[in-house]
């Protein structure tokens, strides 16, 4: 029973191989032998999350949301620092909304620092108000 199923299958494959050359090849996908290019990346984002006294706030949820849709979400570390790898270079950093949140806190202020060069990481700092 099992054997007959397998033989039918093998026979159909043998017949099929004749067709391969008739199918025009399409190009698709790279081989992951380690190539990874950041040529098309926009700047990355980083910043400090602090409370009203200037003390670091760890574990705050930091969201970076381009206007075009989608978002990247990360958390601030023990020093209140967060890092976000960044988006495609077509996405203007000015259109990326950065927001911070943590239970027990309200978002008081978001400050975007200037970039000396458009390729430099964008610094956006958050102040959270304890509630």
């Amino acid at each position: 029973m099992v054997l007959s199923r397998r033989w039918l299958f093998v026979a159909s494959m043998a017949a099929a191989t004749v067709l391969i050359s008739a199918v025009p090849p399409a190009r698709a996908g790279g081989v992951n032998f380690g190539e990874d290019s950041d040529n098309n990346d926009g700047p990355s984002y980083f910043g400090f999350v602090r409370d009203a006294d200037g003390s670091p706030v760890s574990g705050a949820r930091v969201t970076a949301a381009p206007q075009a849709g989608g978002s990247l979400v990360t958390r601030s570390n023990s020093m209140g620092i967060y890092k976000i790898p960044g988006f495609a270079k077509e996405i203007d950093p000015k259109t990326v909304d950065i927001s911070c949140a943590k239970d027990g806190y309200g978002q008081a202020n978001v400050v975007r620092r200037g970039q000396a060069d458009l390729k430099d990481p964008v610094e956006v700092d958050c102040t959270l108000q304890k509630q």
Partner: protein, 533 residues
Amino acid sequence: MLTGSVTSAAEGAMEGVLVTAQRDDSPISTTVVSDASGRFRFPDGRLRSGHYRLRIRATGYELDGPQVVDLGTSTTNVAIKLRQTSDLAAQLTNAEWFMSMPGTAEQKRPLIECMSCHTFERIVRSTYDADTFVPLLKRMAQYANNTTQARVQSRVAARDVNDDSVRKLAAYLATVNLSRAPTGSPTTHSPTWNYKLQTLPRPKGRATRVVITEYDMPEKTIAPHDVRIVRDGQNGDGYVWYSDFVENFLGRLEPESGAIVEYPIPVSKPAFPTGTLDLEADADGNLWLALMFQTGLARFDTKSKTFKIFPLPADLNDDAMQQSMVMPGSANVDGKVWTNDVVRQSIMRLDLKTGSYERIDPFAFLGKGHIHAPYGMAADKANNLYFMDFGGEAVGRVDAKTGETTLFPTPTEKSRPRRTMLDDEGRLWFTEFAADKLAMFDIKAETFKEWDVPTPHTYPYDVFRDKNGELWSGGMASDRVLRFDPQSGKGIEYLLPRPTNIRRVFVDNSTNPVTFWAGNNHGAEILRLEPLD
């Protein structure tokens, strides 16, 4: 019943030697491991009367004798003698080759692509120089993912290969093989490499308290990839079901007899590679398969034993199309099944009512030039999707209602998250394949935890959290099953009897202790591992 001892001239009584017995006419092998005093004992009732062949696994050694044993109704005691092997290289796992080969992490990294299909033994025994390796690597890059040594399948749509990367890899490989070794030849049993062969330690203590059962497939070409038991109120037949990575069959194993039944999946693109990868169950106990290069999804009714195919529309069904994953777990909520498009690195969603597919690109806002690959999938109770970016370093979420995507980068960069499971407490357990880590993502708190696996170069593929909170994992490189306690951060590793390329792992929580299952897609077998404590 069979008991005995293992000794060698070099070590005397030996702990951690795997002793395997297989009856001549049976597809089932049973393995136990010698304890600290060199004693082993097969569990009562496991070995019926008959003529058995014996095998051992202990790196550095081979079986001197006895090679066979006749078992009757009373207890048989055998004194197994080992001798040192003259061909250590034949026994090394890929993890041990990674440890042994000189070179930087950067130079070795591309080799994790090679081990999808074969061990490094064939690389290191070769005498090719860099120029000879280049066309060889380019040829292999055109093989389908679902290729094994027993059955090579070529892609129809050619893949782009970066010439620079290939030349770099070729140059490196020519430094670790026998192309410039001072002595020896690959045809003798003692070729010499210009570096020392490093080995991992044998199992000790608790890692010896285990019984391993291997089920040989009736054909060498059968490549069990995902293995799972369907056993619950909805559809409990207790059979072990598996996807076959290279042939278009869904398979079923009957664990008592080792009997296999294969259900042929219709072949819709005869000129294209066959075989499937992900095997998932829906809420009604139907099994789902993503049809890889055959494209589309298949639903198998385990009662009527019939397939329903959900084909792709012609405009999506081009020569490059490949679908590896399917997630029907919460399709009963909104009538939608998640899947992926490997080539265009996007998520797709099937509407069961209309049979139409929609595409969601979760990486649309990221810079082109990085490799992304939606891979392991899980769905929560509202059918929101959680997926692993196997190309990169994020866990992704797609909202079932809005289609909105959120990416959560893992704490470790370039971690390449692979397969995942969602537990009842809303935690995703997953592996970070390239980072050699097990990881957890709490979907409510949106926080990560990561744990290093004990053995570097394990490359864990999948993880399963059992009813006791322990994690079970395994990888393509080390031939070891990892049992890990995330509370203490400690794990034990069970060595497997044969070279095993572990992919999807499954734990049967209905036994005490739990039972671990996995396929060996390179070795045409299904593995059952029963810890004794």
